[in-house]
C-alpha cells in the first residue's frame, strides 16, 4: 500500500521546506525558534489528522514502552509538587519556586549589608539632616536614618551576627517588603504579602493591641540599634552600652519610627488575623517571598468597607455579583442601551442586572455560576447574529469532521470518446477515507 510511503515523503517535504525558508527567516529577522515551532506545529497538525503513519510520530510499540517506564521516572516530582499539607507548611513555597527564592530571599538574610544600599538608593539628604530635631516627621522609610547613626554605636559590638532571631526579623521582612515595593511595584504584591505574612504571625508573640506600650518601644529601639550594629545581644545589655546623649537623640526619633512601625504592623495583623492562629515562630515564614502558602487562611480576594468602617472580606457570591453587574453593564453599553435591538432581546437583556443577583443569592455556595456567564456570552452573540445563518455553520462542521475526498494532481492527458473518459494523471496527492496516498502516475477510466 502506497500509504506507507506518505510518511517518508511528507517528512522529506517538511524538511526541505524548512531548510529552504531558513534563509528567509534569517533575512526577516525572525529567530530560529519560530522556524522550529513552525515545523513542530506542522508535524503535530499532520499527525492529528491521522492520515498516515509519520516517522516523527512515536511508534505504537514505543508508546507502550514509555507508558511502562513512566511510573519509574516520575517519583521525584510528587515530592515537590504533591506534598501533603502539613509538610507543605514547613516547606514554604520558596522551596518550590527557585527563581523567586533566589531573587528575593537574600534580602532579609543579608540585611545589614543591604541596608547601606537601601540607604544610598532611597535617602534624600533632608531626612537625615533634620532627623534629630524633627522626630515626629512622618517617614516613608524608617530604617534609613537609623543607620546613619550606626558609626557611633558600631564599634561597641565586636560580635557581628547578621541573623538576629528576635524582632529584627520583622524589621528585615518589613524592609524587604519596602524594597520590593519600590523596585517592583505592583508586581511584587504577592511577595510583599508573603513577607507580611511572616510578620503577622510573628506579632502573635507580642502583646497585641497595645502598640505604644513602653516595653515594646524599647524592644523596637533595641532591635533598631542591634540591626545597625549587626548585633546579637540581649536587649538590656545593648541599651546600657549606648551613650546617654546619643540615646536621647535616637530615642526621640525612634519613638516616632517605632510608633509608625507598630501602626503598620497592627494593620497587617488585622488583615491576617487568622494567619496568627497557625503559630508563627517558623522562621521559614519570613523567607517566603513568593506568595502565601497554599494552606493559608485567605479566603477573600476583595475587601469592602463594612458599616463600622472596617474592611470586611467579600465572599465569592458578592464578588460574582459585582462581576455580573459589570458585565451586564458593558454588554448594555455595547448595544446602545438596548435601542438598537428587537424588543424581545432588549427586554431580555434589560432584565439581566436585576435578575442576576437574586439567582446567585445566598443559596449558591459552590462557586461562580458558570451557566450565567455562558448565557451572557450567548446573548451577546445572539444580538449580533441576525445576519448569521446557523445552517451554514452546520455545513462547514460536516466538512470539517471528515477530510474531503480529494485528489490533487497534474494531468498529462484527458481523452473522451462519447461518454467514456480516460485520463492520465501524475504527481498527485489523494485523500480518501481519512487516509492519504501519494502517487507518481495514475490512470482513470470513467463513464459520464
Amino acid at each position: 500500500m502506497s500509504n506507507a510511503a506518505v510518511g517518508a515523503v511528507y517528512e522529506h517535504i517538511i524538511n526541505e521546506v524548512i531548510s529552504a525558508v531558513r534563509i528567509d527567516f534569517e533575512e526577516a529577522g525572525v529567530d530560529e525558534a519560530a522556524l522550529d515551532e513552525l515545523k513542530k506545529n506542522w508535524q503535530r497538525k499532520l499527525s492529528a489528522l491521522n492520515i498516515a503513519q509519520f516517522p516523527w510520530d512515536p511508534k505504537p510499540e514505543a508508546a507502550n514502552v514509555v507508558q511502562q517506564h513512566a511510573p519509574v521516572a516520575i517519583p521525584n516530582t510528587p515530592q515537590n509538587v504533591a506534598a501533603p499539607p502539613q509538610q507543605h507548611a514547613s516547606y514554604t513555597q520558596a522551596t518550590l519556586s527557585p527563581p523567586q527564592h533566589h531573587q528575593q530571599t537574600p534580602q532579609p538574610l543579608t540585611l545589614p549589608g543591604g541596608n547601606v544600599q537601601q540607604q544610598q538608593q532611597g535617602t534624600n539628604g533632608v531626612h537625615i539632616k533634620t532627623e534629630p530635631g524633627v522626630p515626629q516627621q512622618p517617614k516613608q522609610d524608617p530604617p534609613q536614618p537609623i543607620i546613619k547613626q550606626e558609626p557611633g554605636t558600631a564599634p561597641q559590638n565586636p560580635n557581628a551576627h547578621p541573623a538576629y532571631p528576635g524582632p529584627a526579623r520583622g524589621m528585615a521582612a518589613q524592609r524587604a517588603a519596602q524594597a520590593l515595593e519600590s523596585q517592583y511595584g505592583a508586581r511584587a504584591a504577592a511577595s510583599i504579602s508573603a513577607i507580611h505574612h511572616g510578620m503577622g504571625s510573628q506579632m502573635n508573640n507580642n502583646p497585641a493591641g497595645q502598640p505604644v506600650q513602653p516595653h515594646q518601644q524599647q524592644q523596637q529601639q533595641m532591635y533598631h540599634q542591634q540591626q545597625g550594629q549587626h548585633a546579637q545581644r540581649p536587649p538590656q545589655q545593648g541599651q546600657q552600652q549606648i551613650p546617654q546623649q546619643q540615646l536621647n537623640a535616637q530615642q526621640q526619633y525612634r519613638q516616632g519610627v517605632a510608633a509608625q512601625m507598630m501602626q503598620q504592623r497592627m494593620q497587617q495583623q488585622q488583615h491576617q488575623h487568622q494567619q496568627q492562629a497557625n503559630g508563627g515562630q517558623n522562621a521559614l515564614h519570613a523567607a517566603q517571598t513568593d506568595g502565601p502558602t497554599d494552606d493559608s487562611a485567605f479566603d477573600a480576594v476583595l475587601m469592602q468597607r463594612g458599616p463600622d468602617g472596617k474592611p470586611v472580606n467579600m465572599g465569592r457570591v458578592e464578588i460574582d455579583n459585582i462581576l455580573h453587574s459589570q458585565l451586564a453593564a458593558r454588554a448594555k453599553q455595547m448595544e446602545g442601551g438596548g435601542l438598537m435591538l428587537p424588543l424581545k432581546e432588549a427586554t431580555k437583556t434589560r432584565n439581566l442586572p436585576s435578575k442576576r443577583p437574586k439567582e446567585t443569592g445566598a443559596s449558591q455556595v459552590d462557586g461562580p455560576d458558570d451557566d450565567d456567564l455562558k448565557d451572557e456570552e450567548v446573548d451577546e452573540d445572539a444580538i449580533n447574529s441576525d445576519l448569521d445563518d446557523p445552517e451554514d455553520e452546520n455545513i462547514v462542521d460536516e466538512d470539517d469532521d471528515e477530510l474531503p475526498h480529494m485528489m490533487l494532481c497534474m494531468y498529462d492527458k484527458v481523452q473522451r470518446v462519447k461518454n467514456k473518459w480516460k485520463c492520465t494523471l501524475k504527481d498527485g496527492v489523494l485523500t480518501v477515507n481519512g487516509r492519504e496516498y501519494v502517487f507518481h502516475k495514475a490512470t482513470g477510466e470513467y463513464e459520464w
Partner: protein, 114 residues
C-alpha cells in the same frame, strides 16, 4: 508568481499537508512571530518542494474507475467529480473505494504558462 525562472502551482496548498502548513503559519502570524509576507514565502517554497518531491521521490502507481458525475475544464484546470470510485494501488494490490471523489488537476505540460 512569475518572478522566478520556474513557477509552481499552488494547488497542493489545498492538500492536507499544505493546509496544515497554512494553519501552522497562521498560528505564528496570529502570535505576531512572523509577518504574512514571510508566510507567503514559505508557501511558495512549499509549492516548489512538494512538486519536486512528488515528481522525483514517489514511484507509486494508481488506477481508478468510477462514474463521472461532473466535469469541468477551465483555465487549463480539469475538475472531475467521480462517484462510486474504486482506487487500485499498484504495490500490494489493495483497493480503496469511495462514493465521491473530487479531482483537481492542473496541466503537467506547461506549469510555467500559468
Amino acid at each position: 508568481m512569475a518572478n522566478n525562472a520556474t513557477t509552481y502551482y499552488d494547488l497542493y496548498r489545498h492538500s492536507s499537508i499544505g493546509q496544515m502548513l497554512t494553519d501552522a503559519l497562521d498560528d505564528l502570524i496570529g502570535e505576531e512571530r512572523i509577518d504574512p509576507q514571510l508566510a507567503m514565502k514559505v508557501l511558495t517554497q512549499f509549492d516548489r518542494v512538494i512538486t519536486e518531491v512528488l515528481n522525483e521521490k514517489v514511484k507509486a502507481r494508481l488506477s481508478f474507475k468510477g462514474s463521472l458525475d461532473t466535469y469541468r475544464f477551465c483555465d487549463e484546470v480539469w475538475t472531475f467529480m467521480i462517484k462510486n470510485v474504486t482506487f487500485k494501488l499498484d504495490n500490494g494490490g489493495t483497493s480503496v473505494t469511495a462514493d465521491k471523489v473530487k479531482i483537481v488537476s492542473c496541466s503537467a505540460k506547461k506549469p510555467d504558462d500559468k
